[in-house]
């Protein structure tokens, strides 16, 4: 039975299936609990809430694939939001220019991480733990602890968050969500169809082999950090647009939320495994939980973090226990199939097994 199942579906796909079912289950559950849950308004709120963590998570995942981690993303988001915000209070530029500025700044910050990790040989967790603090300090120092406020920003900042591309029966596709979706699709394409993307999997999957195979591992790891920084920069721009008021604490704590989403989405902390679709589901599940518990009167919102913690624990345990077994079973099924095929090919011999 499992054999037959395993011939058609790989364990990784199975996990995504489970995650999808859980996500839909959560939606249905809250639908029965919260009035007007599938209202256009609620759905719009949910999708907009997804946008920023999703963009950061896509970048984070690229780094995690290479068996590294970037904890500095939250400071990058905060710093770019602040710097671009300050720039905008003094200069009138178009949204596009501002977004590109934010991404470039993010890339630069990511490049510092990438240099230290890929070329300086400093472990990623140490590097980004350091830059998490350092980028925040830069923010505090250049801001003199002052705040960017909506009032000082150009008018388009005020209208951008509610800017809607398509509306179907009051269900909006907001610009912010569209950006996040474009990033997600781009991430999917890069990881699936670019040699660079496949190399990221290779590097995390077996770093020694990557070196032996002559892959440009240093450069690729560096690039992964730059991309992660760039996307965090873009998220910084989105953050500025969405919240308008940027204080020195902007986006603090986002890093672990994003890592949690990536982990729940099935990317391995040890690199080499994970899909964009999984990350999307991971971000969605966490966001649904957070947003819904804030609005659910059946349970105090104060239990939401406890539930979130439990959820992560369940996700990783299911992964370790169930998927570990499945993967082993899958490998065995495959081998048995191959051996059987070979026996047939080689004329049967004395069917030993």
């Amino acid at each position: 039975m499992t054999d037959r199942l395993l011939r058609h579906i790989r364990p990784e796909q199975f996990r995504e299936l489970i995650l999808l079912v859980v996500t839909i289950g959560a939606l249905l559950f809250f639908w029965t609990q919260i009035p007007n849950y599938f209202d256009p308004r609620s759905i719009n709120r949910l999708t907009v809430g997804l946008a920023i963590p999703l963009v950061v998570a896509i970048g984070q995942m690229m780094v995690v694939l290479t068996r590294n981690i970037d904890l500095s993303v939250s400071s990058t988001v905060g710093l770019t939001a602040y710097v671009v915000g300050t720039f905008l209070t003094r200069n009138e530029v178009s949204p596009w220019v501002a977004a590109v500025m934010a991404m470039l700044l993010g890339c630069a910050l990511g490049a510092i991480n990438g240099l230290l990790v890929a070329y300086g040989g400093v472990p990623a967790i140490i590097t980004t733990l350091g830059t998490l603090a350092i980028y925040r300090v830069v923010l505090v120092e250049i801001s003199g602890a002052k705040t960017v406020t909506t009032g000082d920003l150009p008018g388009w900042i005020g209208s951008l968050p509610s800017k809607t591309l398509v509306t179907v029966r009051d269900y909006d596709l907001r610009l912010m969500v569209a950006i996040a979706l474009i990033v997600t699709i781009a991430g999917y394409l890069v990881l699936r169809f670019l040699p660079f993307g496949r190399r990221l999997y290779a590097i995390g999957s077996n770093p020694d082999a990557a070196r032996m195979a002559g892959l440009p591992a240093r450069r690729d790891v560096f690039c992964a950090f730059v991309i992660c920084g760039g996307l965090a920069g873009l998220a910084g721009f989105m953050y500025l647009v969405r919240f308008g008021n940027i204080t020195v604490t902007a986006a603090q704590g986002l890093e672990l939320q994003v890592v949690a989403a990536v982990v729940v989405g099935g990317a391995s902390i040890l690199g080499g495994q994970g899909t964009i679709f999984g990350v999307l589901l991971g971000v969605m599940l966490i966001e649904i939980l957070q947003q819904s518990l804030l609005r659910w009167s059946g349970l105090s919102e104060f239990v939401k973090d406890a539930i979130l913690g439990l959820l992560i624990l369940i996700a990783i345990t299911v992964d370790a226990v169930v998927l570990g077994r499945l993967r082993e079973a899958w490998v065995n099924t495959r081998r048995r199939d191959r051996a059987a095929a070979r026996l047939v090919m080689e004329g049967g011999a004395d069917g030993a097994d």
């Binding site: 996990r15 068996r67 590294n68 981690i69 230290l116 890929a118 300086g120 040989g121 400093v122 472990p123 990623a124 967790i125 140490i126 733990l129 830059t131 998490l132 603090a133 350092i134 925040r136 300090v137 830069v138 505090v140 120092e141 602890a145 590097i203 770093p207 020694d208 990557a210 591992a217 240093r218 790891v221 020195v248 672990l256 949690a260 982990v263 099935g266 391995s268 902390i269 040890l270 690199g271 994970g274 105090s300 104060f302 239990v303 939401k304 973090d305 406890a306 979130l308 439990l310 992560i312 624990l313 990783i316 345990t317 992964d319 370790a320 226990v321 998927l323 570990g324 993967r327 082993e328």
Partner: protein, 340 residues
């Protein structure tokens, strides 16, 4: 990539820390007028004493090749438990015992998932990081709960010997005990063994799973102690108590020369790092440098302390480094994958 001669490596690291410490001390003594007063010295410890205490057990955790991100959340949870029980008029000593038991139990639970279920500790304790603070929220919601008995807050705030508080005395006792256990006991030897190569440990009959569970359970217990001391010092508890402490604590330990890959590190290094960080913070605070900048300076120190030796040895061309450092305990078991 195992470090072939860990001892020599550590000795070099510790010398570097001593040098840093001397520079900072020299600056503080000459530039800060009241630096050497007993009160200031006591303050210096008192203000970060909870982090220093947790850093002691975090040293064990990281040397054993694991990480515990849940310590600060555990501090908040134990403090919240004490506060909640105190509020519902439970005998205060009993409340403390319950909170300690919670710490021990949830720490052991972390350990169970790491050692017996086989999940990467980063993932397990990330769940704890979110979940334990979540439990604290369940207990005290977003209130600030205080009203502890007088003896409890006095214990956290008033000096026992001059300005030296109970927490400071406890820290030094715990540091001595931790040092002896890590470096001179059989358990300490096992911690290094498990962190260096868990497979060899299993083949040698070392109780690997039990060692890990003990480490994580102790981590929970010590975090609970620190959380309770923190509650006593502040006199009131919120669910956001000790937020962000975990990264400070890990930074202190790594700055002390403990390898994030496990198997390498010494208590002397960590103590030096604690003294360095405390003095640095004290000097900077008195010089009017804000908390954020302090953290940044320490972060920079952390990166430089790994980067500089790397660059030096590369300049000397002694060995090539691998382009991609494995992030956490390589090699990776193929059969089961860790997180997700």
């Amino acid at each position: 990539m195992g470090r072939i001669d860990a001892r020599r490596y550590l000795r070099r690291w510790e010398s570097l820390l001593v040098l840093f410490l001397l520079v900072v001390l020299a600056y503080n003594i000459t530039q800060v007028s009241n630096f050497l007063t007993a009160q200031n010295q006591a303050n210096l410890f008192q203000l970060s004493i909870e982090k220093a205490i947790v850093a002691l057990i975090m040293t064990f955790v990281i040397i054993s090749g694991e990480i515990d991100l849940s310590v600060a959340s555990m501090m908040a949870l134990s403090a919240a438990v004490v506060a909640r029980l105190n509020e519902s008029r439970m005998e205060h000593v009993l409340a403390i015992v319950v909170a300690l038991a919670v710490g021990l139990g949830l720490g052991a639970l972390n350990g169970f998932f790491v050692a017996n279920v086989g999940i990467n500790s980063l993932a397990v304790t990330l769940a704890g990081y979110i979940g334990y603070r979540g439990l604290a929220q369940v207990f005290i919601e977003d209130n600030s709960v205080g009203g502890f008995p007088g003896w409890f807050t006095r214990l956290g705030q008033k000096g026992i010997i001059g300005p030296i508080t109970f927490s400071i005395i406890l820290f030094f006792i715990m540091a001595a005990v931790a040092g002896v256990i890590l470096h001179y006991s059989g358990f300490g030897r096992r911690v290094y063994t498990v962190g260096s190569n868990a497979r060899v440990a299993i083949f040698s009959g070392v109780p690997v799973a039990r060692t890990r569970i003990i480490i994580f359970a102790t981590s929970g217990l010590v975090s609970a102690i620190a959380g309770i001391l923190y509650a006593a010092r502040l006199g009131a508890v919120r669910s956001s108590t000790a937020q962000g402490f975990e990264l400070d604590i890990i930074t202190i330990v790594l700055l002390g020369g403990v390898s994030i890959f496990g198997g390498v590190g010494s208590m002397v290094g960590v103590l030096l790092s604690i003294f360095l960080v405390l003095n640095l913070r004290n000097g900077m605070t008195i010089a009017g440098i804000t908390g954020n900048t302090q953290t940044g300076v320490i972060g920079l120190l952390l990166i430089l302390s790994v980067l500089i030796p790397n660059l030096v040895s590369r300049a000397q061309g002694r060995f090539r480094r691998t382009p991609v450092e494995p992030q956490f305990q390589a090699p990776r078991p193929e059969t089961v994958q860790s997180a997700g």
